[in-house]
């Protein structure tokens, strides 16, 4: 209908109707992503009455923040939220501390075993890594790491570290070697040159990598559920109480899981494609 009006109005009718097709496709795909999130938010804010309302209109009627706050006050929710933050914090710290030097080495040096190292890193991708939590249960019990946030952070670092090494390699490749060498010539030590010249230029990319490491840990379900009993992360907590919790609690849990990562993805949106361009090479 509107395509007709557009093509009548414009002399290049064919081009316009194609534009219309492109935009309706884009809008449909945006709705496909956004509408389900909107609906689960309605469920989280609608409370018990909202769940049994029939038939639903999909309009934001009868919602309030109360049911969501009630969910937050449920025993274990806040604690598991904090545990998730803790595990993600450990993952971010470890994967950057261990991954960034490796990325720097890959970017700046040619050395024997470079290809084997890259192979090791790429090999981790062909494995369902979270599964490795199964045998770790036994060793973690022995080491006192079982049912601790540190233990979960360690296994999540296995997931995030290969990614961090590959991405930081790309980031350091983007910092001109000549700048660093100039600093050496002017009398900086290697370490000074790195922190004064390279680090500030690489920082935004490294922050984006850190955010990804956070999201990887925040969203991981399997390993966290296997390795914890009482100190559960949010995903592990929600998974274990899933079958006995009422519907609106499940929706509230879903919303609580979604919110932080959406904010983080928004924060790094400008780096998303550069990062994946690098890491998929």
């Amino acid at each position: 209908m509107s395509s007709k009006t557009v093509s009548a109005a414009s002399p290049a009718g064919f081009v316009s109707s194609r534009r219309w097709l492109v935009w309706s496709g884009i809008i449909a795909l945006c709705a496909w992503v956004l509408v389900p999130i909107y609906l689960v938010a309605l469920g989280a804010l609608g409370g018990r009455q909202g769940v049994y309302q029939w038939p639903k209109t999909g309009l934001p009627t009868g919602i309030s923040i109360e049911p969501f706050l009630l969910f937050l006050r449920t025993e274990g929710v806040v604690q598991s939220f904090l545990n998730s933050l803790g595990a993600a914090g450990i993952t971010v710290a470890l994967s950057i501390i261990l991954g960034a030097p490796a990325g720097y080495a890959l970017a700046r040096y040619n050395f024997h075993g470079k290809d084997s190292y890259r192979l090791l890193v790429l090999l981790t991708r062909a494995f369902p890594l979270a599964i490795l939590a199964l045998p770790l249960t036994v060793s973690f019990i022995r080491l006192g790491l079982y049912d601790t946030i540190t233990g979960v952070g360690l296994i999540h670092t296995v997931l995030a570290l290969p990614f961090a090494a590959l991405v930081t390699q790309g980031i350091f490749l983007g910092v001109p070697k000549e700048l660093e060498e100039a600093a050496w010539v002017f009398g900086c030590t290697r370490i000074q040159a790195f922190f004064k010249i390279v680090a500030p230029l690489a920082l935004p990319g490294i922050v984006a990598t850190a955010v990804f490491a956070f999201v990887i840990s925040w969203n991981e379900v399997f390993a966290a559920s296997v390795l914890t009993v009482r100190n559960r992360t949010l995903t592990a907590y929600l998974l274990t109480v899933l079958s006995e919790s009422p519907m609106h609690y499940r929706f509230a849990g879903g919303l609580l899981l979604i919110l932080p990562s959406v904010v983080f993805i928004f924060a790094v949106r400008r780096y998303l494609f550069a990062i994946w361009g690098i890491s998929s090479k």
């Binding site: 992503v33 075993g113 062909a126 199964l134 999201v215 879903g254």
Partner: protein, 300 residues
């Protein structure tokens, strides 16, 4: 007079700092990550294989036999494969459509891409809960069908009695969540295709479909390959979304490993499932590496 060390240092600078003979530096830099991956990737990997193929400390196939004899074994293999086969191609097609559409847009491109990448931050557990709000008995799907007059009362889609509907529901939730990562990799690949290639093809009279299949698709092979490997390995790991939507009504491999570990406390059989999942994932990776040949010489 300068000492021998000063002269050595001077010649080092002349040869360029990156090619000097301080060869230990890169090893020092990668050592922590190698040690970490050895301890928490290689060792558990070997342990998993040993767990699966041993019984009371002796090599044995008992765990494998228990796994293969379990009632849920064949359904979980079938379900995992069917889900992967249904989900991965659809994700690649939607991602290609997204990439093609967004390439035709100037203003607003960043916003559109941000919206499409939102599911990248959503866990499979959360995705399951999102689609539960739509597919549950008093949910939005039933409400829509009811107001269209297609159903007369609330219908269950996620039970043991409705395996096909449950399968479709899980597949839709997985497609909804997992397409973003494929899209990001493919758009990153599309960004690297030089404009001149397409323009040249256009001048020589190639239509949009020819251009897509003969120019674009071959050029984004590396991106396509890594997207396929990543997504397929993740698809074989599917678990939480299934659990959130169907509970144990729809057995999948990782779900079985979880049950044997946490409910049955039988680490051996859980390990057997883990080995099976790894073998399948590795096999899929090898197939993709062979099937989609990436010739580094021909890259733009």
């Amino acid at each position: 007079m300068p000492g021998p060390h000063a002269i050595l240092n001077y010649t080092r600078r002349l040869r360029g700092p990156m090619t000097n003979n301080r060869t230990w530096i890169p090893y020092l830099l990668i050592l922590p990550s190698v040690a970490f991956l050895a301890l928490l990737f290689v060792v558990p990997l070997v342990q998993t294989i040993w767990l699966a193929f041993s019984d009371n400390g002796l090599p044995s196939l008992a765990n494998m036999r228990t796994m293969a004899g379990d009632l849920n074994f064949l359904p979980s293999v079938r379900n995992t494969f069917l889900l992967t086969i249904a989900v991965v191609p659809v994700q690649v097609v939607i991602a290609l459509v997204m990439g093609t559409l967004v390439a035709k847009v100037g203003a607003g491109r960043e916003t559109i891409l941000w919206i499409w990448t939102i599911p990248l931050g959503i866990s499979d557990l959360a995705a399951g809960m999102v689609w539960l709000s739509i597919l549950q008995n008093t949910g939005y799907l039933n409400s829509l069908l009811f107001s269209l007059g297609l159903i007369e009362r609330q219908t269950s889609w996620l039970t043991y009695q409705t395996p096909v509907a449950l399968f479709i529901g899980i597949a839709v939730a997985e497609i909804w969540r997992g397409t973003a990562i494929v899209m990001v990799i493919i758009v990153a690949g599309l960004n690297q295709v030089p404009k001149e290639f397409k323009e040249a093809a256009e001048i020589f009279g190639a239509g949009p479909w020819t251009r897509f299949f003969r120019i674009t698709l071959p050029l984004i092979r590396p991106a396509l390959q890594s997207a396929l490997i990543l997504r397929t390995v993740l698809a074989f790991e599917v678990f939480a979304v299934v659990y959130a939507l169907g509970g144990r009504n729809f057995p999948v491999l990782v779900g079985e490993a979880y049950t044997w570990q946490n409910q049955n406390q039988n680490y051996g059989v859980a390990g057997a499932y883990a080995v099976l999942i790894m073998v399948i994932s590795l096999a899929a990776t090898v197939v993709y590496l062979k099937a989609i040949k990436v010739d580094p010489e021909r890259l733009p």
